[in-house]
Amino acid sequence: MNNNMSLKFDARPENESFARSVVAAFCVSANPTVEIINDIKTAVSEAVTNCIVHGYENTMNGEILIEANMLSNVLKVKISDYGKGIINIEEALTDFYTTREEEERSGLGFTIMKSFMDSLEVESTPGSGTTVVLTKRLA
């Protein structure tokens, strides 16, 4: 089965839990384990938080787009914002690197996405937005 969905929603922290539930519900048909579902929810939560906090700098103005595809039990999920963008992606991917230390961010968002999913790709254009692509085999 090849199944697709895309979800757009307002970039507000109250929608983080909604966003991870939607991706989890999309995965149910592949009958994943609770651990796999939790890995996906955690990774999606990291990516969505980044759109809200970094992409839109906590302005609560802006939209987040999640596109998901399931093919032969492999989930591919793209999470995009149309915000600030990242100038140096390599630096951003470094463990503990954060541009918002004063807000007590850990700099571990990308670290968690990488270790909880099978693959992570980041595309970004400063001034026009960031897309994170995550994949994971579900069964």
Binding site: S17, D39, T42, S45, I52, E104, T111, I112
Partner: protein, 101 residues
């Protein structure tokens, strides 16, 4: 996100209940700093049994509380993390400075 506390033999037990992400971080930070500020506290334990979800926003927040407590030489511990949270704590390396009791 609900916080309840129990104080027993100089130890402050803080029970976290719910999901810890960006949407609750500011409120939770204020609440924790308030309860941890009580006098007579010699040790703090975060009980995570009812914490059903946490991402790296939680790591930053807990690390912040750890640093505050360290200036007062008060040790911090975890208790009863669920598998999802255990995995996040392991990847973060937080267990090296905040052990499970």
């Amino acid at each position: 996100m609900q916080v309840t506390t129990r104080f027993k033999q100089s130890t402050l037990y803080i029970y976290l209940d719910g999901e810890l992400d960006q949407s609750v971080a500011d409120r939770l930070r204020a609440e924790l700093d308030k309860c941890m500020g009580s006098s007579g506290v010699e040790k703090v334990v975060f009980n995570l049994r009812k914490l059903s979800f946490m991402d790296s926003t939680g790591i930053g927040l807990i690390l912040g509380r750890y640093k505050k407590l360290r200036t007062k030489h008060i040790p911090l511990f975890f208790d009863e993390p669920s598998p999802q949270i255990d995995k996040v704590l392991k990847v973060s390396g937080l267990y090296d400075i905040i052990p499970v009791i």
